[in-house]
Amino acid sequence: MTHSKRYQHRTIISFFTVLIVFILMAGGVQAGIEPSKVICRVETDRAILPAGDSQNVVLKITLDAPPSPAHIKRPLVNLALVLDQSGSMSGTKIQQAKAAAIEAAIEALTRLGLQDIFSVVVYDTNVHTIVPAQRAGNIQSIINTIQQIRAGGSTALFGGVSQGASEIRKKLESDYVHRIILLSDGLANVGPRMPEDLGRLGAALIKENISVTTVGVGTDYNEDLMTRLAQKSDGNTYFVESGFDLPRIFAAELGDVLNVVAKKVKVTITLSDNVEAINIIGREGRIRENQIEFYMNQLYGDQEKYALVEVNIPKSTSGSRIKIAQVDVTYENPFSRKPEKSTGISYASFSSDSGKVARSTNIEVIREYQLNLNALAQEKAIELSDQGKKKE
């Protein structure tokens, strides 16, 4: 192993050491009042629509998650770290991360408690569980274990994530927030390795309420595979050019995981008679006759998640008003562990006064619609760029 490879490897180990300390020190606080509920808002791109022929309308279904309550024991976290220790993880690119990771560790020690579950899996040609799922305990022993990781071999990414899920399953029956964080900089080349394979794995894991967050380091990893896995399991995805960014990414991800205020969130949009679903824009969902469904594994405190749907509404007359859709949201309150519900309803009013219609434009809906169309254009650009390219 070259000096630079060893250096990069040490940096990765430092990153995970920080993560371990962060999790080990995590814990609950005292019981208290229950948090506020998730609010469901349903808006259209214009509050008043032009009267006349049938037309397409954009619906924005927004879930406003309440802030995480300060005086209630937060949901515990069941976290598996899955680390690529293949030969590709060596190199020069993560040099500065070590110092930054140490700073992050100091911050972590001041924030967290001791009750979460964590595990560490590493993979190269084979898969190894170096820290089986366990509660906070002998931190130094765990850190020592991680520091002994040595890079080399091929990249059994699928097997690594699968093993991480096995560690999660040891506490699957409990009321934890389940999360795998996968860190990789290379191409999967052992076992299933196509984006579709990892997509299927993600889709299977979400059924067990396990989300996978993927962190791609450098420019050699397969972003299609990493985003597909995150997408299908409702995790996050990150691209970092060098290890220097890892502490920031790590802090952001842990910030989300430690801030869950709703779990197993199911959104069902029921369209009124004569209102037809045209398209879902952005977020993955499913259209079934007059119903549209979305699923989110978790909502984070004080954050907004939304879905955009284009619908066609029937002919109208000026001055009339119709109900477009009712949205029913069900989720589990992770504090009370009880099921909760929230409902939103959307109405449309019609006018032949074009000025009135124009003034009723909802810029928030227009903006998010346009930004999501842009996201689709970015994907299309990738597809076009790929077309006709030689297979590497």
Binding site: T227, N236, D256, R367, L376, S385, G388, K389
Partner: protein, 86 residues
């Protein structure tokens, strides 16, 4: 043109994929964002349009590099899923 040169040229074009069309897709999207942003005087849309134009120009000049591809893929994902932690 010799057979060897023709083959090499063919290979180079193949490596580039439909770069021109990809750049056009991004520029069209940037133009749409700019038009709607101007119509509603929305700074966020205008800022996004400017950033996308820069991305499109970079790809036009240098091709779809691994970094550009990762940036596009990641940004698209984060937008569609409202991933705030970035």
């Amino acid at each position: 043109m010799s057979c060897l040169i023709r083959e090499r040229k063919k290979s180079e074009l193949s490596d580039q994929g439909k770069k021109k069309e990809a750049v056009q897709e991004l520029k069209q999207s940037a133009a749409r964002l700019k038009q709607v942003g101007s119509q509603y005087n929305d700074k966020e849309l205008l800022k996004e349009a400017d950033e996308l134009e820069v991305q499109a120009d970079t790809i036009e000049d240098r091709g779809m590099s691994p970094k550009s591809r990762k940036v596009l893929r990641t940004e698209s994902f984060q937008m569609k899923n409202q991933q705030l932690s970035q």
